[in-house]
């Protein structure tokens, strides 16, 4: 398999996951604000989670619902629209590898988004828009799962998807902690609701309830999302998937070493203690560094080509990493 194609499959996996994650994130927070109309800064935390503060501030002078929605739905920089474009461009150059129906689905996603994106600016049409987007994403993921042979191309999509997931989960947990610690927010009595929204952002509420027979509380949520190996969006699970997919790739020594290192970081730390000592934020920073190391090692091992031969950088979608 061509290195360039491998790289594009990987980024396709990431972008598609990013579309779904961002859609879900907006959906959940739109619900949350209806429960907590007095708590300010919810929209701000969406910008924090996506790590796009600087870009946002360059475009808008005020953080409010409308601007955040415009930014996350329709902006060129880091929106759902941009992630769909990223997925589509990477798919466009790998069409000969992916089952042809998936290209049709990606086109449908892109056509739907372009037609209806303004629906999501106001609350009334937002749910419908985001649900449809999440639905098509799931359809594509399911279609690939059901039709692509589990060999090299699929492994790269899977690695991309799971790294992106792990990345998103750590960001959401991180912002949850920061909000709790921020006295200005006056979370206080709403702590429980906040952790529930962290869970629902990751579609984790039901699975959490099935495994943790206790009320929703910060300690259990953090432990579940970072260390649970069964839950598909748990960081430990995502890393295990990345490791498994990498097992069957050629020349994988260095990549596996980096992945194992990240797995150990998660396994060997008591995240509940870290949370209670207000050190979880620093710990998550470390996990994020590990994830970025994995990305770097994948690039060195499997994607590296003569960069000077690339077309100009703005034409190379594979170089963009929107959320950092």
């Amino acid at each position: 398999m061509l290195s360039r194609v491998a790289e594009r499959m990987y980024w396709f996996g990431r972008y598609l996951e990013r579309v779904e994650n961002t859609a879900r994130l907006i959906n959940v927070n739109t619900n949350l604000i209806m429960d907590l109309p007095k708590v300010k800064h919810i929209w701000e935390s969406l910008i924090e989670i996506t790590g796009t503060r600087e870009a946002f501030d360059q475009r808008f002078s005020r953080i409010d619902e409308r601007n955040v929605m415009k930014f996350l739905l329709d902006d060129e920089f880091s929106s759902i629209k941009a992630a769909i474009l990223g997925a589509r461009e990477n798919a466009r150059t790998t069409r000969e590898i992916m089952p042809s129906e998936s290209w049709v689905l990606i086109n449908e996603l892109s056509i739907y988004m372009n037609k209806h994106k303004t629906k999501g600016i106001n609350r009334s049409g937002r749910h419908e828009l985001l649900d449809e987007i999440i639905g098509i994403c799931n359809q594509i993921t399911g279609y690939l799962e059901g039709t692509m042979s589990a060999d090299t191309p699929y492994h790269f999509i899977k690695i991309g998807r799971n790294l992106e997931r792990a990345d998103m989960t750590t960001r959401i947990v991180d912002v949850g902690c920061l909000n709790l610690m921020n006295p200005e927010l006056e979370i206080g009595q709403y702590e429980n609701i906040l952790w529930m929204s962290v869970l629902t952002s990751l579609n984790a509420y039901q699975m959490y309830r099935q495994q943790v027979q206790d009320t929703v509380n910060g300690e259990d949520v953090v432990d579940f999302l970072l260390k649970n190996r069964q839950f598909p969006r748990g960081v430990a699970h995502c890393l295990a998937e990345v490791a498994q997919a990498s097992q069957s790739l050629p020349r994988n020594d260095n990549a596996l070493r980096t992945i194992t290192h990240a797995q150990r970081t998660i396994d060997q730390n008591d995240v509940i203690a870290l949370l209670n000592n207000e050190k979880l934020h620093d710990f998550i920073d470390n996990v994020q560094l590990d994830l970025s190391d994995i990305n770097g090692e994948l690039t060195t091992t499997w994607f590296q080509r003569n960069v000077d031969q690339e077309l100009n950088p703005s034409q190379s979608f594979t170089q963009t990493r929107l959320f950092t």
């Binding site: 290195s3 360039r4 466009r92 150059t93 031969q309």
Partner: protein
């Protein structure tokens, strides 16, 4: 749908209807279908076709549109039909033509017999933009240089099919031909029940066989790749389509490397992997910065070296474009006689050689009734159509002709045939041409039909998709025994 008002222009052959607006022989069912279905029904089908094109992502690119790299493929639902009996002869003519063209290319890069025998003037080649001195002395397998050819055919008022031009460099359109059929089946399934239409979808398999057969290493599974300039090329859709259908890798120049052993390798996740055959969709001059355009970032450094050493096969071979030249075109009937000892089955459109003083004079005097074409352009760019041009453009054309007669050929205006086409709320006659695709290596193959391009503007003769042309499905209708 009433066809009473359907008007076929004077001295024009309509492919579906006679000049009394009756169905041509064998096309009764198709014409009845058009009559039976109201305009609303046809428009609905057209809309469905457009939706299919959109979701299937069938696109092409118009360079002048800047960053908009997706334009949906323009398609008209009403097919163009040719009877198998006529097609069999066209097919023979196309194979004959490509054989002669390949013998010609091989000859002029080697013994130059045809020049020594004075059947073709020597200075013709010296002044051809696509003659590559770097290719002299090469002998590709089967003496075949142009493995893939797209030949444009047009039908004059009397029904004669003429060859308008041969595209031997990187002819495109074949994927659209195949997709047109898919869409056609989807939006007008009932027509396929009543008509015996020859299938065409074995083209990718035939192409793969052709490419495999020229591999320099006799392997069971030669590594065949499609080399594309990338997503900004107008035919990127086609490059990826063909790679997908052939199960070949779609590579860009930066994916390939020529190593010290002068073999071509692609960079894969496993490491370097040898490449045997490159179906290149990049023009000669961008292929290898070591030999041609030094600034090319699309090509592969050392590719010509590898090819000259016989370590990799290139399709089409570099230099094959020499026979693509519109002046060389005028000698093709001569080539067929010279190399094959046969009479040409398909005639050329009569052409005036502007390098001949008498003919040039005739062209300049009658320019308002002629078509003048640049010898080396494709896509219909720079074409001059006498009766439609302004006085200023005419004066300019005359000046250009005098200054550089070798760069142009002139032809009488051929009244391209028409096919009923859905225009707004009516069926109207629109001019069409036809581009079948011919393969040649160890054997020859012609697609069952080709890409029919249609000029969507009333009266227009310019069918190129880059200039507002559309396309139609092309049916070769099996003869009833």
């Amino acid at each position: 749908m009433d066809l009473k008002n359907y008007t076929i222009p004077d001295r024009v052959f309509d492919e579906i209807l006679t000049n009394t607006n009756r169905a041509r022989p064998g096309l009764g069912q198709l014409v009845n279908f058009l009559k039976k279905n109201g305009i609303q029904n046809l428009n609905e089908r057209k809309h469905n076709a457009e939706l299919a094109i959109q979701t299937m992502g069938i696109t092409f690119t118009v360079y002048t549109e800047g960053t908009n790299i997706d334009r949906e493929w323009p398609f008209d639902i009403i097919p163009r039909v040719i009877h198998q009996k006529e097609w069999t002869s066209v097919e023979k003519g196309l194979k004959q033509r490509l054989q002669a063209l390949n013998l010609f290319i091989n000859d002029i890069y080697n013994d130059e017999k045809i020049i020594k025998d004075k059947r073709v003037p020597k200075d013709l080649l010296a002044s051809s933009k696509d003659f590559r001195p770097e290719c002299v002395g090469m002998n590709p397998v089967y003496n075949t240089w142009a493995h893939i050819c797209g030949t444009d055919l047009i039908r004059d008022g009397d029904g004669t099919m003429y060859v308008l031009e041969d595209n031997l460099r990187v002819p495109s359109g074949v994927s659209y031909m195949l997709e047109n059929r898919n869409i056609s089946k989807r939006v007008m399934p009932e027509l396929f029940k009543n008509h015996d239409i020859l299938p065409m979808d074995d083209y990718p398999a035939q192409l793969f066989d052709t490419l495999s057969s020229i591999s320099p290493r006799p392997l069971d599974y030669p590594e065949v790749v499609v080399l594309t300039p990338g997503i900004y090329n107008s035919a990127y859709f086609e490059h990826s389509f063909l790679a997908q259908r052939m199960g070949a890798e779609l590579v860009e120049g930066s994916d390939l490397i020529v190593a010290d052993d002068d073999c071509v390798y692609m960079k894969t996740v496993e490491g370097l992997s040898r490449v045997d055959v490159i179906y290149r969709r990049i023009d000669d001059l961008f292929l290898d910065p070591e030999v041609f355009n030094k600034d090319s970032t699309l090509g592969v450094k050392g590719l010509m070296r590898a090819w000259r050493k016989g370590n990799v096969a290139l399709a089409n071979a570099p230099g094959a474009g020499v026979a693509d030249d519109k002046v060389v075109y005028t000698y093709v009937p001569e080539m067929i006689k010279y190399y094959l000892g046969e009479d040409p089955i398909l005639p050329n459109v009569p052409s005036y050689m502007c390098t001949d003083k008498k003919q040039l004079q005739h062209v300049i005097q009658n320019i308002e009734n002629l078509v003048v074409k640049p010898a080396n352009e494709s896509g219909g760019y720079g074409m001059y159509i006498g009766p439609r041009e302004s006085k200023r453009r005419t004066a300019e054309m005359k000046r250009l002709l005098k200054a550089n007669p070798r760069n142009y050929i002139a032809q009488p205006i051929v009244n391209l045939s028409t096919v009923p086409t859905l225009c707004d709320n009516n069926l109207e006659a629109r001019h069409v041409d036809l581009r079948p695709f011919i393969l040649q290596a160890n054997k020859s193959y012609v697609t069952a039909g080709g890409l029919t391009r249609v000029a969507l503007v009333r009266g227009s003769l310019v069918v190129n998709s880059s200039q507002g042309g559309g396309s139609k499905d092309t049916w070769i209708l099996a003869s009833k025994d």
